[in-house]
Amino acid sequence: MLINQFLLLGAALFSLGVYGVLTRKNAVLVLLSVELMLAAVNINLVAFDRYFVDTEAAGQVFALFVITVAAAEVGIGLAIVLLIFRVRKSANVDEFDLMKL
Amino acid sequence: MIEPPSEVTETSFESYAAELGESLGAERVVARHDTVRIYVDSQDWVQTIQSARDNAGLEFFSWLSAIDWSRDVAVGDPVENPEELEERIEVICRLSSVENGDGAHFVSVLDIEKPAIDSLVPVFAGAEWHEREATEMFGISFTGLPNTDHLYLPDSFEGNPLRKSYALLARAVKPWPGDVDVEAMPDASGEQDQNEEQTMGEV
């Protein structure tokens, strides 16, 4: 197996995630797209782990960390979306424009 | 034939009825057949019932309904002397005491054309359903009733079924055999005659 086949797959997945983050209106879907990007990162990490033959499996360990952080991110993200939904009655990111006020 | 039922069953019952009526300022008190009826002016309706609850110990709300006294009777038997009848609607509310089982019916006479009276819901929350039922069945309007949706009947139903003027559709199509039911059976046997003889003879 080539290392690049995994890296390219990861790049494609990442780009799809980026596309999702850029185009989705619904905040939950934006979060989902971020998950895609993180998954792409994980693929790269594990692939590099195998490629560089790390005796300490650092790539895998960091993939685990990424997963953990992603879980934390989803928890907080959903809580924020829920809060905004409660306040603004909408999960539309276009309306999260407090930065402009 | 049958003797008229005894007017007075117990003196204590009579005196209880009189006392109760007096204490509540009733217009008229009727006590027969173990049933006390206290006539109340419709203006004093809520006030009297509240005072019955608070002062006379009648804190149990049993039921609320009405009687349509009408000359124009579509089904069933009319009253005995229709010409003498004063057409009216009587609202009846039954309260009782949970201490000793006393109870009384509070009656208020309403105009049959536009029957209206104050709602009892502020006094007895449980009156709501009874009043809704009376509203749809008799067309009485209860002032202050929070919810006047039909309780039993479909929302689109029109008319007040328990009014005497409301005809039973089934009855119009096919007369009820009740009229013949009480006649002697065509093949009444001797045994039945015997029975009849026994009962009729002694009464």
Binding site: M1, L2, I3, N4, Q5, L7, L8, L9, A11, L13, F14, S15, L16, G17, V18, Y19, L22, T23, R24, K25, N26, V28, L29, L31, L32, S33, E35, L36, A39, N42, I43, V46, D49, R50, Y51, V53, T55, E56, A57, A58, Q60, V61, A63, L64, F65, I67, T68, V69, A71, A72, E73, V74, G75, I76, L78, A79, L82, L83, F85, N92 | -
Partner: protein, 192 residues
């Protein structure tokens, strides 16, 4: 390595199947017009990534993805979506209009080209080597090794991550709970 060689290796068939599934489902994640469908497609994409990890011999990571992502994160997503009443059927208001979608597509495709070309330029046709003796068993990383690595070399990041999780937990609770109502605050008197 030429393409025909590549196709003679059986694991590359598995890889191709996984890759196609993954890209297809990921595409649906970012384009579908129903929120729940998007989440379910994400499940498929993540399951595909777990399969990819299995292919790479990273078993522990793979099942962690299943346990944490599919078992917990996605369920949380679905729970959150459904509790705020996800509509059945198609919604139109999920994506931006074409005015934004097209530049976004261009940018993300350019990003893919940049990353891809860099990768290709850097690694060319390097092959993933078999692992040295002692770290792998049947081409699968031993879980014990991963565990040792976490608890020896990476113990501080591990602790940091655990604190982060705790903070996220508390933060999520704080964010999601209702504020105390007015009556509650009035109930307590003040005296200085």
């Amino acid at each position: 390595m030429i393409l025909t060689d590549w196709f003679t290796m059986p694991e590359n068939f598995v890889y191709s199947a996984i890759g196609v599934t993954m890209l297809a489902t990921a595409y649906r994640v970012v384009t579908t017009r129903n929120v729940v469908h998007a989440v379910l497609h994400l499940v498929a994409a993540l399951a595909a990534s777990a399969a990819l990890f299995l292919l790479l011999g990273a078993e522990f990571v793979a099942w962690t993805v299943v346990l944490v992502y599919i078992g917990a994160v996605i369920v949380l997503f679905l729970f959150g979506i459904m509790i705020t009443r996800a509509p059945l059927g198609v919604e139109t208001e999920l994506s931006h209009p074409r005015r934004i979608r097209i530049p976004a597509a261009i940018v993300s495709f350019a990003l893919f080209l940049v990353i891809g070309s860099t990768m290709v330029g850097a690694f060319k046709d390097d092959v993933i080597e078999p692992a040295p003796q002692g770290t792998m068993e049947f081409g699968i990383t031993r879980t014990a090794d991963v565990g040792q690595s976490i608890f020896q070399r990476f113990v501080i990041p591990f602790e940091v991550v655990s604190v982060l999780l705790l903070a996220a937990l508390i933060g999520a609770i704080v964010l999601a709970r209702k504020d105390p109502t007015e009556e509650e605050s009035e109930a307590t008197g003040t005296m200085r």
